[in-house]
């Protein structure tokens, strides 16, 4: 869809391995479920045990992944993204930080900190805009969930200063 999404060339050995990574991961997931399902007991078709169904699906998954590894792809719909992982990685780290902070400090402080980071460093807004937007978005989210929907969030260290929860 976007012109800058460049397709991975198919020629080098490195690319051939790269294209097969998802199939290998899929096969490993299948193997994990297959072994787990056998551990649960497969039973028979006339007396199915809890492991029967997952083992059938796992075999299909492994089979498809093996086919994928054998034929590979033409790399047409794979994006070359190794050099662009930094920003999504920062995004994931920021979100993890929010989850960790949220359970300790509640919504307001965590929301402010994480949104300022997000707007300033990921969205590249100015410091002023980042702070203004973070305050605005956090207040709206607080009002929406805590006041309007009466959601039960972890105790909020900031809102408590004003007698909120």
């Amino acid at each position: 869809m976007n012109s800058e999404q460049t397709a991975v060339a198919t020629h080098s050995v490195k690319d051939k391995i790269f294209q097969r990574v998802p199939y290998a991961v899929g096969a490993l997931i299948g193997l994990y479920f297959l072994l787990g399902a056998i551990g649960l007991g497969v039973g028979t078709l006339s007396a199915p045990a809890p492991g029967l169904w997952p083992s059938i699906v796992a075999v299909v998954l492994i089979g498809c992944c093996v086919v994928g590894m054998l034929i590979g792809g033409d790399g047409e719909d794979i994006e070359d993204f190794a050099g662009r992982l930094l920003r999504p990685a920062i995004g994931v780290a920021t979100l993890s930080l929010f989850i960790l902070m949220f359970s300790r400090f509640g919504l307001v402080l965590s929301g402010l900190v994480v949104l300022v980071i997000w707007f300033r460093f990921l969205a590249r807004e100015t410091w002023f805009m980042s702070v203004v937007l973070a305050v605005g978005a956090t207040v709206v989210t607080y009002l929406l969930f805590v006041q309007l929907l009466a959601a039960r969030f972890p105790d909020d260290v900031i809102a408590q200063l004003w007698g909120g929860r």
């Binding site: 869809m1 976007n2 012109s3 800058e4 998802p22 199939y23 899929g26 299948g30 479920f33 649960l40 028979t44 078709l45 006339s46 007396a47 199915p48 045990a49 809890p50 492991g51 169904w53 997952p54 796992a58 299909v60 998954l61 498809c64 992944c65 994928g68 792809g73 719909d77 794979i78 994006e79 662009r84 920003r87 999504p88 995004g91 994931v92 979100l95 929010f98 989850i99 949220f102 359970s103 929301g111 994480v114 949104l115 997000w118 707007f119 990921l122 969205a123 590249r124 807004e125 937007l133 973070a134 978005a137 956090t138 989210t141 929406l144 969930f145 929907l149 959601a151 039960r152 969030f153």
Partner: protein
């Protein structure tokens, strides 16, 4: 006549101030989301799910339905004015719509899409009223073997009709089925694949999965390129079309409605496929096919009508069989389940106020959209000035907080984040997340029906071939599988319609 009195009762349900407000809210949110690139209808509905838990079931569904077909309208605006499809189904509209804008004909393009969408939507609602009750009546007789073959057919078709590699879609679907197994076994009661985590004993939450795969991954994906601004927004001009425009569009609108309706019913069909099919048909029928791609109004009217018709008819499998046909409907199924309503053949008789209320709301919602489009296009265009990084940050906060409210636990937040990362890499490697989510939703129904069938037949797989309905469905399943394999062996990438799609949509 029965349908008519029921429909009037449906209007009784919908024409209360509160429910009218929910329709309005749904279509407004849907349109705004359709306009904003980066957040699709699936992510939005996932985002809104927690808000629906406190609502009446009917209100919840009419709002979510409004978001869905409202987003189809909204996506058109950005496609026409900027060549940026706000959602996938409008990608085809961008081709001729944007050319019309360049020629100073944005007004007619938007106006004919609005009228076409309204007509397509209305015709599809009439089709729904005519077909759904008898289909449900027929489906009441379905037993476990029929449900097995039907869900398998659904999953097979989703992988077959997808826009990317069939093999990859099958892999995604298989992973979805395996994730559905996590939790407590429905029949024996033992826990499976829970890694000892109490948060997984009741299974992985559908909303966390969907929000992660569609919402979080989409935002991570667009964050790579944030900071880029949109191109210049074209002049809208007067939102009217001439008599000649109407004469040229009449046929495409009629055919778009008739084409979009059946495609929407198909699992995995939905908006994208119907708009592509309509574009293909109009180009082939046209006396001047060379004008397509250079601003032919037929190339806007047909696809826009078709994708709206299909977004309405996509409700038929869910409301009559309890089986969602795409990821959006899977989430609406989730919303119903959260209200302790299990959709299925009994839905129409057990909850007539819900069924007919939703239908009435669709008629009202389509009318609101038609009226809304005229005065508000200018406002929607202004929304495009909001930078994607800002939308991303706010959406992330609401998503995380919203998923917490599902079970008041941070566990679901982590599940969503992991699913977001998975979805991000799936996109990067050319996997579609939709088959995974759909298979995840159907997984429980499929496993339970399969095990019940095996108990019924004393372990004989012949049960799927000896009962007439499941035999017919099994034949379809085999035909689709055989045709996929045949296509792969012959090195055809995809059936012809998909090739056409790639040619049309990816002509960049």
């Amino acid at each position: 006549m029965d349908s008519l009195t029921n429909l009037i009762d449906g209007f009784g349900v919908i024409l209360t101030p509160a429910n009218l407000l929910y329709v309005l809210l749904g279509v407004m949110i849907g349109t705004v989301i359709g306009v904003l690139p980066g957040l699709g209808p699936t992510a939005t509905i996932a985002l809104l799910l927690p808000f629906t838990y406190g609502m009446e079931p009917t209100s919840a569904i009419i709002m979510l339905a409004g978001v869905y077909y409202g987003s189809m309208y909204g996506g058109t605006i950005t496609s026409v004015l900027l060549r940026i499809p706000g959602e996938a189904a409008s990608a085809v509209t961008a081709i001729d719509g944007y050319e019309m804008t360049k020629a100073g004909r944005a007004g007619p393009a938007l106006a004919i899409s609005a009228v076409g969408s309204f007509i397509g939507g209305t015709i599809a609602i009439i089709g729904l009223i005519l077909i759904a009750p008898s289909l449900a009546g027929f489906a009441v007789r379905f037993g476990p073997p029929e449900y097995v073959t039907l869900t398998v057919l659904g999953i097979v078709m989703v992988t077959y009709l997808g826009t990317k590699s069939t093999l990859k879609s099958v892999i995604a679907a298989a992973i979805g089925l395996l994730l559905a197994v996590v939790g407590t076994d429905p029949i024996a009661g033992t826990t499976r694949f829970t890694l000892g985590l109490p948060g997984l004993f009741s299974g992985i939450d559908l909303v966390a999965v969907a929000m992660g795969l569609f919402g979080v991954s989409e935002i991570l994906y667009v964050m790579e390129r944030s900071g880029q601004s949109h191109g210049k927004i074209g002049e809208v001009g007067r939102l009217t079309f001439s008599r000649e425009d109407w004469k040229a569009s009449r046929g495409p609108i009629t055919r778009g409605s008739l084409l979009g309706f059946p495609i929407g019913v198909l699992p995995g069909g939905g908006g994208v496929l119907s708009s592509i099919a309509s574009y293909g048909v109009e180009k082939r029928r046209s006396k001047h096919p060379e004008e397509f791609g250079k601003g032919a109004i037929e190339g806007v009217a047909g696809p826009e009508t078709a994708n709206n018709a299909s977004s309405i008819s996509a409700f038929i499998p869910l409301l009559t069989l309890g089986l969602p046909s795409n990821a959006v409907l899977a989430l609406i199924l989730g919303a119903l389940m959260a209200q302790n309503i299990t959709p299925g053949p009994q839905l129409i008789t057990a909850h007539p106020e819900l069924f007919w209320g939703v239908i009435a709301s669709m008629l009202v919602g389509n009318l609101i959209l038609l009226l809304l489009n005229w005065p508000m296009v200018g406002f929607f265009v202004q929304l495009l000035r909001v930078r994607i990084g800002i939308i991303g940050g706010i959406a992330m906060l609401i998503t995380l907080v919203g998923v917490y409210t599902l079970n008041n636990s941070t566990f679901d937040m982590w599940v969503m984040l992991i699913m977001g990362v998975l979805g991000y890499f799936m996109r990067k490697f050319g996997f579609e997340p939709a088959p995974l989510v759909l298979a995840f939703v159907l997984g429980a129904i499929l496993e339970e029906s399969f095990r019940q069938s095996m108990l019924l037949s004393d372990g004989s797989l012949a049960i799927f071939a000896t009962r007439p309905i499941s035999a017919v469905l099994s034949v379809f399943v085999l035909v689709f599988i055989a045709s996929s394999i045949w296509g792969a062996v012959r090195k055809d990438k995809k059936p012809s319609i998909i090739d056409q799609a790639k040619e049309l949509a990816g002509e960049d």
